[in-house]
């Protein structure tokens, strides 16, 4: 009953999710650190905008991305001038995953940074550490459990992304057909064996990741 002729959805999904996680770490951590302890007018507005992709229907995100990177989109037109097309490529799938994963990373990281006792950072300053050094050697390790939770959540979200991906990247085998997309089309085509195999793989893999993270977090309480 389990059989898989094409393994590409698995590697595609992993590649997309890993890309998305790296992107949200690079973008999300500094932003979360910056906004965690700062108050300024318009902060609530900005935060609401950042969190929006978490609650919007995937089709809305997909439509928004099409308006941005589509052939006539704001960014799409400019890129077309350089001969670059993003829609219906792997990059579009990666972008869609990044957008939906970003709020999860941001929220977890912000909560983690907020929970760090500021006095630890003050102590580091009196010991002669620079701001960058404090962020890397004090704040990050103290916030690490929360950040890791954010990494796992955003990875899982990126791995499971379906709706927006379908709209901006389509279902091109070997290029944009990630596991969720492949499952949908396998079921649609009545190929239950493929669908079941992919479902089993993605469920087992997700379970293992969460199981390991929980175990790890348990050992990390100082």
């Amino acid at each position: 009953m389990f059989s898989l002729t094409d393994w590409s959805p698995i590697f595609l999904s992993l590649r997309t999710a890993v890309f998305a996680v790296i992107a949200v770490i690079i973008l999300g951590l500094p932003l979360a650190r910056l906004l965690a302890r700062r108050e300024f007018p318009g902060k609530d507005f900005l935060e609401s905008a950042i969190t929006l992709p978490m609650v919007l229907p995937p089709s809305v995100i997909g439509y928004g991305l099409l308006m941005l990177i589509g052939k006539n989109g704001l960014l799409g037109q400019t890129l077309a001038g350089f001969g670059i097309t993003l829609v219906f490529t792997w990059w579009a799938a990666a972008l869609a995953s990044t957008v939906v994963a970003f709020p999860l990373m941001y929220q977890s990281a912000k909560a983690a940074f907020k929970s760090v006792d500021e006095n630890y950072e003050k102590a580091a300053r009196t010991l002669g550490a620079s701001e960058v050094r404090i962020f890397l050697t004090v704040t990050l390790p103290l916030a690490w459990p929360g950040i890791l939770a954010g990494v796992v959540l955003s990875f899982a979200r990126a791995l499971g992304e379906f709706g927006a991906t379908l709209m901006v990247a389509g279902n091109i085998p070997g290029q944009t057909s990630t596991i969720p997309v492949a499952i949908f089309f396998a079921v649609d085509a009545g190929d239950n064996a493929t669908a079941q195999t992919l479902v089993a793989i993605v469920t087992g893999f997700s379970f293992l990741v969460i199981f390991w993270v929980n175990r790890w977090a348990k050992r990390q309480n100082y």
């Binding site: 003050k122 102590a123 300053r125 009196t126 002669g128 004090v138 390790p141 100082y222």
Partner: protein, 362 residues
């Protein structure tokens, strides 16, 4: 002597709280105790000296150099907190070396030698590979102290480092602080709300209240001669009696409220704000108030009769509460009590040397 630290007109606003025009200076080898109730601004003052808080106005000089705008990492001032704030993900050794590592000197032989000496003095050499969560409160404070002074800062700031410790540990930490102060020849500013700690450790004392300096001076001077009622109450001044000043035969006397007795002549000078008729509080530390059964006043003393209201026994002494032209509290040793055979209702003679009668202007 050139001062090591000079704080001039320092003012800070933090929400609704503000520190107002704080001025003081510290010489090398001073041990200044900053004393004050919770919320008096002690921690904010320390943090501003360390550079952790921007000043609203005023200046700070360190070794003759203006450091008002210098970031904390360039000030080289040690800081230890009430919560030891050890990094939980680092071992004791890595915690102690944190500052050296930040300055890029953690691998130097002389730094490692210095660390070995320090942990020996602190009695924590057996803990180097442990993580903070496996240490007791006292051990954590020792590690925190070692971390703060590893790179030999000339000034150490302590923010209530002993208040979370049990009495036994606190005593041994006090000894350790005194030892470090002399052997390391480091100057210390130590914030506390415990005046007995302040008197035992400090060479200087500053009493802070509501963001201003109420009084500063030698600890015993402040203890025996508080300038205001709030300082006297904070230092648990005994025998605070309300009354007025009067002059008789060009000498100064104290007249307790609701009584005709004149206590005196006092040795204080009649200079403003002390004038005849002014409302004052008389304060006599109970240790300066002696108790006698004979009716003859000890020579050079002011004395008056009083009736014993009640006695309370302690392990080493008896507190005697008397009433006579005011309520008085004194204590005598158990041996003395055995001799005198005092009981409730007995009339005794209270005596005090004029120089121990302290007047506080109300």
């Amino acid at each position: 002597m050139e001062s090591l630290l000079k704080v001039h007109n320092l003012s800070i606003k933090a929400g609704s709280f503000s520190l107002n025009k704080i001025c003081f200076s510290l010489k090398a080898n001073d041990y200044i105790m900053i004393l004050g109730p919770t919320g008096s601004g002690k921690t904010i003052l320390l943090e501003s000296i360390a550079g952790l808080r921007p000043l609203h106005s005023g200046e700070i000089f360190f070794n003759g150099r203006r450091i008002t705008d210098l970031p904390p990492e360039q000030r080289h001032v040690g800081f230890a907190y009430q919560d030891s704030l050890l990094y939980p993900f680092l071992t004791v050794k890595e915690n102690i070396l944190f500052g050296a590592r930040a300055r890029g000197i953690a691998v130097e032989a002389k730094v490692l030698r210095r660390m070995s000496q320090l942990v020996e003095i602190m009695g924590i050499s057996q803990l180097l590979e442990r993580y903070p969560k496996f240490l007791s409160g006292g051990e954590r404070q020792r590690v925190s102290l070692a971390r703060a002074i590893l790179t030999k800062p000339p000034l150490l700031l302590l923010d209530e480092p002993l208040s979370a410790l049990d009495p036994g540990t606190r005593q041994s930490m006090q000894n350790l602080l005194r030892q470090i102060h002399t052997t390391e020849s480091i100057s210390i500013i130590h914030v506390t709300h415990d005046f007995s700690e302040a008197i035992q450790l400090g060479t200087e004392m500053i009493v802070l209240s509501n963001g201003s300096i109420e009084q500063s001076g030698a600890p015993l001077e402040v203890f025996f001669r508080p300038v205001s009622l709030s300082v006297a109450k904070f230092l648990q001044g005994e025998n605070l009696i309300k009354g007025t000043l009067s002059t008789l035969n060009s000498l100064l006397w104290f007249k307790p409220e609701h009584s005709e007795l004149l206590i005196g002549p006092l040795s204080e000078e009649l200079t403003p704000p002390l004038v005849a008729g002014s409302n004052v509080m008389l304060m006599i530390r109970s240790s300066n108030l002696s108790l006698h059964q004979s009716w003859e006043s000890p020579s050079g003393c002011i004395s008056w009769p009083a009736e014993i209201e009640y006695l309370s026994f302690n392990r080493t002494h008896v507190d005697v509460h008397c009433k006579g032209y005011g309520c008085w509290e004194t204590s005598i040793s158990l041996a003395q009590w055995q001799n005198l055979r005092l009981f409730q209702g007995d009339t005794v003679l209270l005596a005090v040397r004029p120089e121990n009668c302290h007047l506080i202007v109300c």
